[in-house]
Symmetry: C2
Subunit: 220 residues, 2 copies
C-alpha cells in the first residue's frame, strides 16, 4: 500500500514550515491542505487534533501526528533511509533536542512582542530577541549548519523564523544583521535548499500577514 | 571505565523527580546533589546549564544533559538494555511524546495558579486543572499505565505531580478524586514502584514547601 500523507497547514506558520521541509527532505509525496485557522477550522482539523485544535497536523494513513517537533521526529523515524535529521549518538541527540526546545520556548513568544507591543515592552522585546539569536549564533559557531556539515534537526526547527525576520524588524524597528551576521548567512545558506525554498513564504507576504494580524487584534 | 552520573536537583521539583525515576528504573548508580535554587545556585549548576540555569541537570561522565524530558529520553537510549520507556513503533513514540508535551505545556502553569491566585482567577484555574486531569484520565482509559501494561515514558513525566496534588487541593480548595478517581488509582499504583516511592517526597512536605513559597512571594 502506498503511504497516504496529508498535511493540514496555514502558510505563515513557522511550525508548519518545519513539517513541510521534513517531508520535502525525505522526498515524501503528500497532499497539502490549507486551513483557515482564524475564521473557519475544518472538521478534519478538529477531528485530527481535538486536544489543541491547531495546525500543523500530519495525517499518515489516516492517523494524526500533532506538534511540529514531534512530526519531524516521526518523519525521521518512518522514512529513516534518507537524510537523517537527528544524530545517532544519544548525547548529540540530546543536544539537538535541547536546542529545538530552546527555540520552541523562546522565539515565538518574544517574536510576537516585536509587532504586538510598544514602548518599553517593545524595547525589552527587541533586545531579548537579539540576545536569543546571539545565543543561537554562538551554538552555530563556525559550522555551516546546526547539524554540522549537514542540514539537520535544529536547522529545520529554526529556519521558518527566517521568513519572519523582515516583519519582526520592520514592526519592531530594529536590525538583526549587525550582531547576527553569521546567523543571517546561515539563513541564506538554508534558503539554497529546495526544501526550504519551497516551504518558506516570501517575506513580504509575511509582512502583509502581520499587518492583517495587527488590524485583527486592534494593535496600532 | 565506570559511568560517572551526577544529578543536580532540588527535592520538590516534579521535573527532577522524573529524572530520578528514570535512573532508578534503569538501575543506574548516581550521585544526588541537592541544590539551593532559591538563594544560592552552585557554580557547577551555572557551569552545566548556562542557558537556563535550572535544575535538574544530569551530568554523565562530565557532560551535561538539561531539560527533564530530554534527560528521560537520553537515559532510555544510553541504558537501553533494561526497562525501555518509549515504545519502538514510531507512531506510538509520537503519541507518547505528544502526551509528555501536553503535560509539560499545561500542568505546571495551571498548578501554580491553584496556590498563587485567588477569586475568579483561582476558580478558573481549579476548573482548568480538573479538565486537564480529565483529559489525561481519558487517555489513560482502562490501561494500568499510560504506557499500557508497562510503566513507561508518559507515566514518568506525569507522576511527580501526584506528590503535589494534596498541596494544590489544600490551597486551591478543590478536590481531584470525585472526577478523576481512575487517575488517582493510577497514582497509587505508580507509588507501589520502588523508583517512584524513592523519588517522590512526602506530600505533607510539599504542602510545607508551598507555604514557604507563598510567604516568599508575599501571597496571602
Amino acid at each position: 500500500m502506498a503511504d497516504e500523507v496529508i498535511l493540514l497547514n496555514f502558510w505563515p506558520s513557522m511550525f508548519g514550515m518545519r513539517t513541510m521541509i521534513a517531508l520535502e527532505e525525505k522526498g515524501v509525496k503528500y497532499e497539502y491542505r490549507e486551513e483557515n485557522v482564524i475564521n473557519n477550522k475544518s472538521p478534519l482539523l478538529l477531528e485530527m487534533n481535538p486536544i489543541h485544535k491547531k495546525i500543523p497536523v500530519l495525517i499518515h494513513n489516516g492517523k494524526p501526528v500533532c506538534e511540529s517537533i514531534i512530526q519531524i521526529q516521526y518523519i525521521d523515524e518512518v522514512w529513516s533511509d534518507k537524510n537523517p535529521f537527528l544524530p545517532t549518538d544519544p548525547y548529540q541527540r540530546a543536544q539537538a533536542l535541547f536546542w529545538a526546545d530552546f527555540i520552541e520556548k523562546k522565539l515565538f513568544v518574544c517574536g510576537r512582542k516585536t509587532w504586538a507591543t510598544k514602548g518599553e515592552e517593545l524595547e525589552a522585546a527587541t533586545k531579548e530577541y537579539i540576545e536569543i539569536l546571539k545565543t543561537l549564533q554562538c551554538e552555530l559557531g563556525d559550522k555551516p549548519y546546526f547539524g554540522g556539515d549537514k542540514f539537520g534537526f535544529v536547522d529545520i526547527v529554526l529556519i521558518g523564523y527566517y521568513s519572519w525576520f523582515p516583519a519582526y524588524q520592520k514592526f519592531g524597528n530594529f536590525s538583526i544583521e549587525p550582531e547576527c551576521s553569521k546567523l543571517m548567512a546561515w539563513g541564506k545558506r538554508c534558503m539554497q535548499r529546495a526544501s526550504v525554498a519551497k516551504a518558506l513564504p516570501d517575506s513580504e507576504k509575511v509582512v502583509g500577514y502581520v499587518l492583517q494580524l495587527k488590524k485583527f487584534y486592534g494593535i496600532e
